[in-house]
Symmetry: T
């Protein structure tokens, strides 16, 4: 379909700018959910159980906001793209190492990963301030959740 079948509540320029922000956030969130699952399966070490459980909470949060971000894109008339190849190519999330990982490494890596995503989301809050307050509200909400997660992972490094 060459033309969007969904009319937008936003003017074209705002729609395009906001849609770009949402598409990039979507890719980050899909990748975050895959990375967290990868860590969930491959973590070993003394704190295995605690880290294993905490990672699934991160997966749940990432999936929940993936869906909200993608459906927000659709709601403003922009087709979201969360396919594996798109994620592999465009994600801003650092790649997770292969194989079994010790719990101490996992904690450090996940804390850094969430921090990286938070930084990118904060830039998106700034961008949407001019294009769509409704979208901004969603990015603010998910950033709050990610910053909470960041604190909880980082607290284990102290």
């Amino acid at each position: 379909m060459s033309k969007s079948p969904i009319t937008s509540p936003l003017p074209a320029a705002e729609r395009d700018a906001t849609g770009k922000v949402l598409q990039e956030a979507l890719v980050d969130l899909v990748d975050l959910s895959l990375v967290a699952k990868q860590a969930h399966w491959n973590v070993v070490g003394r704190n295995f159980r605690s880290v294993h459980l905490q990672l699934d909470e991160l997966v749940a949060a990432a999936r929940e906001y993936t869906d909200q971000v993608a459906e927000r894109a659709a709601a403003i008339g922009v087709s979201p793209d969360g396919r594996a190849s798109t994620v592999a190519k465009h994600s801003g999330v650092p790649e997770f190492a292969t194989g079994w990982q010790s719990d101490t490494e996992v904690i450090a890596v996940i804390a850094a990963t969430v921090e990286a995503v938070v930084k990118r989301m904060r830039a998106r809050i700034a961008k949407t301030d001019d294009t769509d307050l409704v979208t901004q509200d969603l990015i603010i909400e998910l950033t709050a959740k990610l910053e909470e997660a960041h604190w909880m992972w980082q607290a284990q490094l102290a």
Copy 2:
């Protein structure tokens, strides 16, 4: 970690053969869940609502078995790999088109996609017959679920 920290209940040969089967199944299932979500967000047409809801049931099933398959690999001492780049490179699931899709196209594509995954899973049932009956039982169970899904998608093409 060069050596698996998890000892296997299987002899090395059976562990390796079974682990390969599980790793391939894992990649297919992660991709299936991403494809089904992609369709969930991009479908349009008269039957939007029904197809949108049905796709989320497929996502739920794919995610549920993704987790079981990955944790089964871990349980036999094989590190599972479900990262975006691995999935993008090794998935046996046909790629889903970009942009909005009509509901009729979605139904046909998803029916064909599930059928392709079923075929690959049936081959895995045969392979695990000789290497690990516990793993085979899991593949049988998820194949039953996928074949049920296949019928329900295909029934809409009639």
Copy 3:
């Protein structure tokens, strides 16, 4: 009672401007809930069941925000008015036709109706930016919900 028994957290000018926005939003939302129920009962056609169910979700959303908007008005010291005669006189929601309606008509009409309400709500987001950020947050939240609903109805027209 000539004077409001509820003191306002806002200065008089902001209270009046915000109260006007909320009263108008209230009327639109009550009418939207009645229109959606009317369609829920009178729709016929091949997709009866799907549309019938989807309309009740719209009713539930409209009722939920009706209550929040009216109670927000009360909270800033402005008496809300959601009576039938007030709604009949002041609603900005297009009137729904009388008698049985085909599902295709219902989908088109409801998509257009929600679009009209969204437009009015977006104007209210702008207005409350200067008068009350707390009220604005509520209007942003309900607009997000309505724009999601709009996408889902419009997707069926493609």
Copy 4:
């Protein structure tokens, strides 16, 4: 649509008489739910909380039977009409005053309002005795509920 797409389980005369009863009951019930919500938002006074909660129970009951009455009309092949303008024009429910209301006034007014609706419903029980016992059973059930509500409001006047 000039002709009802729903065939009736009743002969034409019984269908028309019963349909008229149901349409009038529908209008009363929609209005009762709007009046009770209006009071719910505007009541003030010493017993605010208790009256505020009790009104929402009345709203819930009115909405529940609104839906059952409208769907019963549809089930006998008569298109129900519960739109704001229809309700504003044809309701037999006394109009509720504008602005904040003291709890004592609200109790007296709501008791009288429910009493008025009960009287009209009792006449409908008599009418449906000859036209449709299935519809009569529904009107009997909702009258029992309204008479219970009437007792509870009136008990506060003693």
Copy 5:
């Protein structure tokens, strides 16, 4: 057992007449539940999912009232008979065709089937008016449910 071990709250004539009504209703309802399940499994076509789900709601309703009708017969001292051979011989429900069925055919056939059962139930309401008001109340209640189902199936034919 030649004599009923359950004494009846009704005189013999009323018991026998009411028991006959209940036995016939029981057979119709068992058959309706089997027909609806048969359709549930064999429907194909564009609206497969919606029809498949709606049929299971009909099965649930038919089973619920099957049980109530049979237990009402027992309660008035009449042994109910819902065995396959009895149902096959005495049911008033039109036979459902063999093999896969298109969704459009299924909707038409089920609408007609429910209509046929409603007609028979309405006659039973009339009969029990003279023999047992308690049984009549049950038949009225299940007729209301069947007429609601009839409307919902028929609405899809419009």
Copy 6:
């Protein structure tokens, strides 16, 4: 208070006749709940557990309808009286023996007790046919429940 503070939806004669029926039903139901609890505590014998549990279901049913009957009396403006002394003086329920009771005796006594109450309720259905159909509907509903209970107790005597 010499005068009822609750106005009645019924004319005085119907109110008085219906009120008398409800007061008598109330006394029977309170006593039935006390008798069933007495049996619940004092039954012994091989089937202790089954009878003990079944008696509590009878208590629950009796209490539920006690409340509905008393509140129906209030709803028609008649003060209900369910005090111990009133029940002891006016109940139509046969007195239950003192001390431990064998399960076989309990089953026979409870079956006979429920049968006695059913007979009295059926007379009340007849009486309310002329005075208040809304009250009659309640008596019909509770009679259905009591007749079901009667069957289940009596079935154990066969």
Copy 7:
């Protein structure tokens, strides 16, 4: 049955003394539940709703401990007696007046009634100190609950 079929964990003297305490407590609690229900149905006045609801919480507490006390008697081999005639003859609970009662009277009467029952229960705590600590624990627990209720009723008199 002349002899108790239930052997006691207590010596005969302790069993008899404890059994007497439990029987008297049982009668008080049954009567309390009937008095509270009577008030629940007959209260009128400005605070009707609040008092009506609070009385049902008292009914629930009284019924819960009625059951525990009666079953504790059975557990020590003493047949409990909670029949209407026994309660009417032996209750220590003051009789509740006939007819409608104002909410202020109800609050005062119920506060006094609960206070009377508390006094009798405190004497029973003292008595069971020498005969059965297990029974005493139950009486202490229910006294705590009654004293809490007493506070809440009395607080409304201040």
Copy 8:
């Protein structure tokens, strides 16, 4: 429809052999659910309550597997047939006697009935070993459930 609209994951020969097994199992399970309901309604005797409840658990199990078996047939491209006439003609379940049945007879008959079905299911486990392991897994699972039921019924004959 002359040709199955559902393509099979199995080769034609395996599909036909497996489909035949599933169709026969389906007929047995529908009949088992009807026989168990028939017994549920017609049992009398000292153990009425226990047997009545246990029969409904059997009904629930039979219905659950009826559905799974029928949908498995559909999933392999074979149209299932569970209509009354088909069941009456082809069931391998012994016919249940007419009229009221003593609990002792019911227990013996149901134990024998379940035993007969188990025998037929065990033969089906053997047959599907060569044709479809996914179907075999389902038959194994339902046989486990039926053998558990068989033990529980037979235990009452000891």
Copy 9:
């Protein structure tokens, strides 16, 4: 570990005496739960179902208090021991016979078994009166539960 890592809220003498009581109670309760499960699996006879279910309630109670008793021991600084060999050696619970058991035997044996445990627990209530009121409260609570169970088993012997 030669020294308890958990400091006690009790002086050494009270800790040791109370710890001994708890350890003995623990062993009895573990064995009671195993005996009740053994009976649950091996009972046969007319009342199989009722006894089978009642035994699982006893298992649940025994397990619940096993855990509370063991954790109370830990809380006062005493390591609990509930291993199979300890239980086999030190339990005061009579051994349960091997093989299938008739329901009448099971009822008699379980009633006697619970009675034996009650006797031992009552002695523990006396002992803890001087050493730890907090522990005594727990033993009183579990004795109440066991005496209730004892009544219910014994009632079936009458």
Copy 10:
């Protein structure tokens, strides 16, 4: 620890300014929850029950936002302080009087207390507009809740 172990998503100046706002809000909210509990326990008078229940809703809201505010502080790298001495020293909430309080006084005092907290929160919304939109969103949300509570308390003064 002299240095925060949690890195902040905000620059130092914004972190400090936002952290100060959150710390002050935290102290107010802890105190509000203690004041509301104090009133919950000490209120007496005609409306005791209603006020007692409403106060617990205020406690629940205050506790919920206490936690969110404190964890938001932690998330931006600022250690929150909600200890009794800190609250006693720095709270902006007016002190609640000692001893029993009449319901009328409680309503007036709580309305004034919530109003005072709202005023302070509104200033915090303004301050965070420049320092952290994510924190502002939380303060807006809790202010909305407090203003709703304020309306409900104040409505009882009218």
Copy 11:
């Protein structure tokens, strides 16, 4: 109010002595809940997540018993005082340090804190033995809970 509006079930001396015990327990429990929350927010270190969660369970227990203790005071006619200033002045709970705390420190501090509270509660059990057994029962119950918590915190120090 100079005089308590709540009459006491206890004589004056017992009331005063018991009231003093309850007031002191109340202050300790409020402070314990604040200390545990403070730790919940400020803990850092490898075991952050586990300690963070466990602290919230302690908060929940402390709050639950705070409420029961305060309401017990009210029930015996003594006004409870749980305000921040009272707690800050009279608490027997050791003050918690300011700022972030390592998990090892938190575990040691909380174990010691709970131990201190337990000691004070044990003294209260002794005191209430002579003044009020109902209050004593509550202190025993909460001491059991605190000692369980103490074990679980201390176990982490081993």
Copy 12:
């Protein structure tokens, strides 16, 4: 009883061989549940809470499969034996040490214990391949669960 009252769905040789497998599995599982509870109570150390919780999940799994294995034995006509003395004598589970245990030791011991049980279960899968596929399916299912548990315990050793 010299002869099994339960007829077997298996020929005698298969029944005996399968029964032996099930009896041995039963003993292992009972012991595993007791060992896990023992560890649950006696573990101390930094990871106390995590290990304590994880052990209760193992207890729950062991108990669940204990019941299924015992009831499967009964279902094939073999009396199961799970008494303390039988378990103490025949268990293949390594004995757990007495007294408090450090968390590191507990993790190592439980990992080794589960590994030992898994090995024995895998041999049982092989044996039942020839004697009973229904039983084999159960052993496969519980082995999958145990191997998952094994991975999770072992992961903590890495």
